[in-house]
Symmetry: C2
Subunit: 412 residues, 2 copies
């Protein structure tokens, strides 16, 4: 049974996530801890017609050692090797697959300053590549693979690590609709139809702002730029006109917030795992779109490093709605990793907005984007704010106030 | 016990293999199948004072897929990413560690032409780096780590794969003198003294040629260039004047053969694993230093590809003496990998000679090297020819004929 489910899960990643066709090139990121899963994924990608697959393995245990012991100058240096690599992929339109296996304890004891310095250098080495990614000019997908370390965090009450891994696999298969029927791709296609239906309703509302409130203390008004579009269920590569699924799973519908108009206070509802460190129990206060105050019970230094990346890191780039009654949320499992937890909860992203959520942003830059309310940043980091009692009231262009979320779920 | 032996083995690699000191940079090659061993090696290297360690993981299962399915043009293209990498290491004098875990079946079914094309492109991307390596201007070391796949080949009669791995570890610890006493580095230092003693004797002989004969049919006269030096027991980085051990284990004493003067026939005595493929049961006929005929019972195509790499690939670059009574040889284990098998058997290398075996070669190039009998090639591939009845007669400059090897062992 597991073998069949894994095969269908890989099928979903290859056919819907990356949408592999004859002649494609692919590059894959994965930690060595999941190398046994990388092998069949690569085999399936070649079977689908790829002519070049490159796998870049990381090793989180060694990455931590590097953070602790590499000389300081390396954290202020752009890697020419990385630059050459990104340039190659950008030129050859290679599709990107991130096989993620989060470990919430991976970077324990590492300086958040070094992590952010490293992230900044990485950004500088991949600027054009990242722009292609954010602008749907490159096909990419993220999918998760369990490790014992991750499974132990998700199921702390299960003593047997192998049993915990099995449970985590079940949760992943379930959350990605692999278990809905025998054909994972057909299940996926059916599922995204429900998301498309929501997009149509939300786009027809023509909203100008959303007002979030809940019992955690969240009281936030998020402006939505004129011409914003709600998106979800997948993306389309605007160069090849081929679909791809950036996130497996996906339960969200999302658009961009107005980078100049977010006001109030918002509380996190789930921990955020960022670059191997946990940020939890945090509160952001925003004025005119900018975070003016931020505190976290855990990971406060990392949160502040994150916000200080650049001007756009203090502003929202994404507003996403996920009902509390979504399947992943109903499972009651805290995955301690964004890919799953963001699909169990309404969330925002700090940082860069997606071009496809504001068609008017295409080809614009600098001051023009700022005027449009389109946020620009090196980062794009989602954080979860949904609760069972979340209420969201929408204001329409015609002034009408309508309920978008009631008691944590869509009101329509 | 295993933990302690492993710790001592790692100590040997870090302190004698690479001779790590404060401020060193290191790059490590390893297959993902041995990632659990890479982690403690990296930790030990940082503890010894390194300021940068980079690990480049390969995945032999995926490499095989790439050979089978990547488009042809990729095998005729130099990778700019690899070039950038080698340039960086060459400039920063990074020390190189190869953690090898051979799998004699890794490249089953792969075209030897593609493997050689790939090797040629790799050589072109690392030309200057390789030259530094061959000229003792860079410190480097190779050490072996077991996998289940390798252990099963070495101990086919052992059904339990974990048991086979344990046996292979024992053979590795034993062959590298880790078990000779509590301190692996002290054991190593004592062992290399016996090699130094042999060097002194051989260098004092001032030989002009060696005549090999055995019952396999080998009957070969190998010229030794004037001014050749016998080496062994380790190398010295001529830039930093620091020692390093290129091979762990090492039982050989070696020099170079005259690239223009090797005549006769030589038979292989052990299989040669080259780039994941086995070449076995082969015979080379040489005239005036050049292989004029070559056939292999297994891997004939690969052998011919190898010999056709360039002119120097058809000539000898190294002549190495290992007594049949060496500890690795006496273990009776066929490791099916050069690092161990070459240290259980007299061998030659096809391809490039080592600069330190002919001091007069330093700074010379092209025609000058040719005249000196110093071989130049993209490749350097050892192959085993030692047998229990191997006889080697040496001719001294003064014309005297003396026995170097009798019945497979040193005659002195």
């Amino acid at each position: 049974m597991f073998e069949k489910n894994l095969e269908q899960y890989i099928e979903l990643i290859v056919k819907r996530g990356l949408n592999i066709e004859k002649g494609d090139r692919v590059h894959i990121y994965a930690d060595v801890s999941i190398h046994e899963y990388v092998k069949p994924v690569v085999a399936r990608i070649y079977a689908a017609g790829a002519v070049e697959v490159e796998v870049i393995y990381s090793d989180e245990v060694i990455t931590r050692q590097k953070y602790l012991h590499d000389e300081e100058a390396l954290f202020d240096t752009i890697s020419e090797v990385e630059q050459a690599r990104y340039k190659k992929w950008e030129k050859s339109c290679s599709k990107r697959l991130s096989m993620v296996s989060p470990n919430p304890k991976a970077m324990d004891g590492v300086s958040s300053e070094r992590i952010m310095k490293n992230a900044r250098m990485a950004y500088l080495s991949m600027k054009d590549y990242k722009a292609k990614m954010m602008g749907d000019k490159m096909s990419w997908s993220i999918a998760a693979f369990p490790t014992k370390e991750w499974a132990k965090v998700v199921f702390p009450e299960v003593d047997d690590a192998n049993k915990a891994v099995d449970l985590l696999w079940d949760a992943i298969f379930s959350g990605t609709h692999v278990l809905d029927g025998p054909d994972a791709c057909a299940n996926w296609d059916k599922h995204v139809q429900t998301l498309y239906a929501r997009l149509d309703i939300l786009n027809a509302f023509d909203l100008t702002s959303l007002h979030y409130t809940n019992s955690l203390g969240t009281d936030l008004v998020v402006g939505l730029p004129a011409g914003h579009r709600w998106k979800g269920g997948g993306s389309t590569n605007i160069i090849t006109d081929k679909s791809f699924a950036p996130n497996i799973p996906t339960e969200e519908v999302y658009t961009l917030g107005d980078a100049n108009s977010v006001d109030g206070i918002v509380y996190s509802s789930k921990p955020l795992l960022f670059s191997g460190q946990i940020i939890d129990g945090f509160k952001l206060e925003l004025k005119n779109g900018v975070v003016v105050d931020a505190t976290a019970e855990k990971g406060d230094a990392m949160l502040k490093e994150l916000l200080s990346t650049d001007d756009g890191a203090k502003r929202f780039g994404e507003v996403a709605l996920v009902p509390y009654a979504s399947p992943i949320s109903l499972s009651g499992i805290l995955f301690s990793m964004t890919l799953f937890d963001e699909n169990a909860s309404c969330h925002f992203a700090l940082g860069n907005a997606y071009e496809n959520t504001l068609p008017a942003s295409a080809g614009k830059s600098g001051e023009e984007l700022k005027e449009l309310g389109f946020n620009v940043s090196q980062i794009h980091v989602d954080f979860m704010i949904g609760t069972p009692d979340l209420q969201i009231m929408g204001k329409r262009k015609n002034g009408e106030i309508i309920a978008i979320f009631k008691e944590g779920n869509f009101a329509f």
